[in-house]
Symmetry: C2
Subunit: 215 residues, 2 copies
DNA sequence: GTCTATAAAAAGATAGAC
DNA sequence: GTCTATCTTTTTATAGAC
């Protein structure tokens, strides 16, 4: 798929070095504060090379944001499969699942620092591009979680009418709560408190979607 | 409390003009993108005057953020009193309350745009100052909502053990959900969809904290 | 205390050699 | 395609008159 074989070596390598460096610098400094100088230096290339690969700062940022969202989405998918495929103790499985999801935020610090930057820049990002980021990231999370909950409900362990809403609610009561309090990991919170928050969130979710007992 | 009476007139006026302008410009452009030039121009004063009142850009930003949080907290308190003092139809009252809370985000566009900026800058804000902002803003919201839920529970309309957790959950299932999807109002959402989100959020909350029926 | 004018630094983007 | 050197604009912060 490489078109016209432009250079024998040092093309894709440089591009990847640039995107990695950009993710780190954008995440650390935010969009406006991050300079193309710093990104070029962190990537070990000249600034002109950056501009040869990406037309301008905005396009570089959006490229990095979208690629990062896909990476994280893939990681979350693995976490779902690990915890929600075979259910033995629903409450404990949901707690473990949510804790791993929360931990993913600290496993991808560059990306989630960048998520903060995106949310801050939301008003300045062209709506169609913003939509495509939402689609590649957060929305995909809900859409992939819903089928798992649907299957659990089909086994009679939950009473769910709208699986997507239920997925959104579980996320809000656990991951969103923690992320909001820690600013996506920027302000650390003791693991004990995180476990506490997630536990009461999962329990609230289970009460809300408990199957009606038929005596 | 004004110390040493420095000038007969034109002191507090200028300061307020500066803070108002700073709130608007910071909210519109974000912290880094906002320039002291633009703030001075919007306030109708010279840039030197801004620096006479505030030592630097950072201190001006944090001052505005804290003052704005107090204003919004007061407005939210009024909304609570309006909807949660006399309960007639709990579900409808909670929906109306949550919709008004969501609307407050668009009523204070400058402040909530600034909230986005704070969240983006979280990693660059000194932790003690960040804590004091959380205390003046979001946390106060939960702490003030909790007693209302406690009173409703005491009337037998809800079954609540930890009122603060319940307050957090109600907020997450309604306001946080909408704010996350609209990026605090930056990306508009049809009122119909907002109502839909809030309604299913309130219903999930009520199922989660429904009193146990004693037959 | 407030203003006009300016200094000093930084950042986005480009020219031209190899 | 990549690099060094440079242009242009913008921004924070300050000097000095009133």
């Amino acid at each position: 798929m490489t078109q016209s074989r432009p250079e024998p070596y040092g093309r894709a390598d440089k591009r990847q070095a640039i995107t990695q460096a950009a993710r780190r610098v954008f995440g650390r400094d935010g969009y406006t504060r991050a300079s193309m100088d710093a990104i070029a230096a962190a990537a070990g290339v000249s600034k002109r090379t950056v501009y040869n690969h990406f037309t301008d700062k905005e396009q570089l940022f959006l490229t990095v944001a979208l690629e990062g969202a896909e990476d994280v989405t893939a990681a979350i998918a693995q976490i779902m499969d690990r915890h929600l495929h075979k259910i033995v103790d629903l409450e404990q499985d949901l707690i473990d699942f949510s804790l791993d999801r929360v931990a993913a935020v600290t496993s991808f610090p560059d990306h989630f620092a960048l998520v903060r930057a995106i949310e801050a820049e939301a008003a300045h990002i062209p709506p169609p591009i913003l939509k495509s980021w939402i689609a590649a990231g957060p929305q995909t999370g809900h859409l992939r979680l819903a089928p798992y909950l649907r299957r659990i409900a089909d086994r009679g362990l939950l009473d769910i009418h709208d699986a997507e809403s239920a997925a959104a609610h579980l996320t809000l009561l656990t991951v969103t709560d923690v992320n909001q309090q820690t600013f996506y990991g920027a302000v650390p919170l003791p693991q004990e408190e995180i476990t506490q928050l997630v536990t009461i969130g999962v329990r609230a979710f289970l009460r809300s979607y408990a199957p009606t007992v038929v005596p």
